[in-house]
C-alpha cells in the first residue's frame, strides 16, 4: 500500500539550530509532494510543494525541501530555526497526480528560545 513515513515524531531544537525533517514515500511513479505546517491553534497551511522541475524547492519562512527520486524522499530543511517555527509539520504525497492525498503522521517541532 502507498504510504508516507515521517521518521521523527518529536523534535526539540534551540533557536538558530539547523533543521531537517525526514519524509519518505512508497510509490514508484510520478508524484506531487507537499509539506504543510500547523502552528498552535491555527489551521493547516501549505509550506511548500514540488510538482516538477528543480528538485530543490523553496517555500515560505525560509524553508526548503529537496526531492530525491532515487531515495523516495522529500526532506524539509531550514538552516536556522526560530522560536516561531514551533509547530507540527506534515508531509503529503499525491501519487500519480490524481486527487488522492496520502499523509505522514506529522512531526511536532519545538524550538526552545
Amino acid at each position: 500500500a502507498q504510504s508516507v513515513s515521517q521518521h521523527n515524531h518529536h523534535v526539540i531544537l534551540s533557536e538558530a539550530a539547523s533543521l531537517e525533517l525526514g519524509c519518505n514515500y512508497s510509490y514508484g511513479g510520478t508524484v506531487n509532494l507537499f509539506w504543510y505546517v500547523q502552528y498552535p491553534g491555527q489551521h493547516l497551511q501549505l509550506l511548500l510543494k514540488y510538482f516538477s522541475g528543480d528538485p530543490l524547492v523553496k517555500g515560505i519562512k525560509g524553508f526548503e525541501a529537496e526531492f530525491i527520486k532515487s531515495k523516495f524522499s522529500f526532506n524539509l530543511r531550514k538552516p536556522s530555526v526560530q522560536w516561531s517555527d514551533t509547530a507540527e509539520y506534515f508531509c503529503a504525497v499525491t501519487p500519480g497526480r490524481n486527487y488522492q492525498l496520502i499523509w505522514g503522521a506529522g512531526t511536532k517541532l519545538i524550538i526552545k528560545p
Partner: protein, 113 residues
C-alpha cells in the same frame, strides 16, 4: 468566499446525540476531503469526494458516520449517536484540480460529554 469555511467552529454535544458538521469548499474546487485530528494525533482520513464520482468512504470509522456533498459544493458530515471517542477536530479540505495542493478550513472542534 476566500477560503474553506467550516461550521460550527466548536460544538459540544451530549453522548448519544447526533451532530452535523458543515463544510463550504472554495468555489470551483473539484475534490473535497474530510479528516479527523484527535489530540496529539495526525490526520485521519474519513471520506473523499471527487466530482460526480462515488465517494471514497473507506476511512469512515463506523456506520454512525456519513457524509454527503450536495451539488458538488457544500458537504455535511453527520455523526449519529455520538460517543466520547468521537471528540476531535474535524477538518475539511478542498482541492481545485488533479494533483494540486489541498486548502484546509479551520476545523470544527467536537466535544462529546
Amino acid at each position: 468566499g476566500a477560503g474553506v469555511s467550516q461550521s460550527p467552529s466548536n460544538k459540544v454535544t451530549e453522548k448519544g446525540k447526533d451532530v452535523e458538521l458543515r463544510c463550504d469548499p472554495i468555489s470551483g474546487h473539484t475534490a473535497l476531503y474530510w479528516y479527523r485530528q484527535s489530540l496529539g494525533q495526525g490526520l485521519e482520513f474519513l471520506i473523499y469526494f471527487q466530482g460526480n464520482s462515488a465517494p471514497d468512504k473507506s476511512g469512515l470509522p463506523s456506520d454512525r458516520f456519513s457524509a454527503e456533498r450536495t451539488g458538488g459544493s457544500v458537504s455535511t458530515l453527520t455523526i449519529q449517536r455520538t460517543q466520547q471517542e468521537d471528540s476531535a477536530v474535524y477538518l475539511c479540505a478542498s482541492i481545485p484540480r488533479r494533483g494540486s495542493e489541498a486548502f484546509f478550513g479551520q476545523g470544527t472542534r467536537l466535544t462529546v460529554v
